[in-house]
């Protein structure tokens, strides 16, 4: 296993191997033969190994510390103060305000926390899910719902992503 290339993670590799064996035995009847058996086993080992690595990497980081400063309140459409207030700049400022309002109105508190932690702070879904007391699957659905709400609202408001990209690039 790749983990064993680093001597410090040999105990982790052994633990992952043991957990993998137990899970394979437990789920043997779910193997449907769509892939090679070894690939199926590797899939389980990868999930167990990466889950543990993520847990160790992020164990000292709380969700509160990541979401304390709410990135969603500071959409990066900076208007340079030394430029004249041309129509383009006014439009950009209006676009900024509209996007901030949409985000504030469309997302629940849980969705905002999850979105900030995953999209802006890079915390793995599994770790965010653990801290929010849910399964990773449920967190993905929470984020999916958030994206859907935002997408539909942006479409309803006639805001094209290309307009926002352009505004960010020029900012």
């Amino acid at each position: 296993m790749a983990f064993q290339q680093r001597p410090t993670v040999a105990p982790l590799a052994e633990e992952v191997a043991q957990d993998t064996l137990l899970r394979v035995l437990d789920r043997l009847d779910t193997f449907e033969g769509r892939s090679q058996f070894t690939t199926w086993v590797h899939t389980i080992a990868v999930r167990i190994g990466l889950t543990e690595l993520r847990r160790q990497k992020w164990r000292d980081v709380s969700l509160e510390s990541l979401t304390d400063e709410d990135d969603l309140d500071n959409v990066p459409l900076q208007i340079k103060s030394d430029l004249p207030a041309t129509e383009t700049l006014i439009e950009k400022a209006d676009l900024l305000a509209r996007i901030q309002r949409i985000i504030a109105e469309e997302l629940t508190e849980k969705q905002r926390i999850a979105l900030v932690a995953v999209a802006f702070k890079g915390m793995p879904l599994a770790e965010v899910a653990r801290r929010m007391g849910m399964e990773r699957n449920a967190l993905y659905k929470l984020l999916h719902d958030a994206r859907l709400h935002l997408k539909k609202r942006l479409e309803k408001e006639g805001i094209l992503p290309s307009d926002v990209y352009a505004a960010i690039e020029q900012g």
């Binding site: 892939s35 990541l66 959409v75 999209a119 890079g122 990773r136 997408k151």
Partner: protein, 99 residues
């Protein structure tokens, strides 16, 4: 799909929040916007992808690319960083096994 080393970054602790620049990251905001734009009503869940990822990985390994195969799985991998990391790790293992 570009492969990255799936293991080295796990051994680096995240930087403390106090040392980071305040304010939203422009690039991450663009990525979030792109994800919103590409959101589909019918997305697979992590569990559904996990049930098919072994099969999908072998096909990608054999063909050398995903090439619009199983588009719902590919879409989920674009949306879910955890599943994408696991897929990349699995591909790496498969390529080393076949070497």
């Amino acid at each position: 799909m570009r492969l990255t080393n799936p293991f080295s970054r796990f051994f680096k602790k995240p930087a403390p929040e106090s040392s980071k620049k305040r304010g939203m990251d422009k690039e991450k905001f663009q990525q979030m916007l792109k994800a919103i734009e590409q959101t589909r009503q019918d997305e697979l869940s992590c569990d559904e992808v996990a049930a098919l990822i072994a099969q999908f990985s072998e096909i990608v390994q054999d063909r050398g690319e995903a090439d619009n195969l199983m588009p719902l799985i590919q879409h989920h991998l674009e949306m879910c960083s955890d599943c994408r990391e696991e897929f990349e790790a699995l591909l790496r293992i498969l390529s080393q096994s076949n070497a």
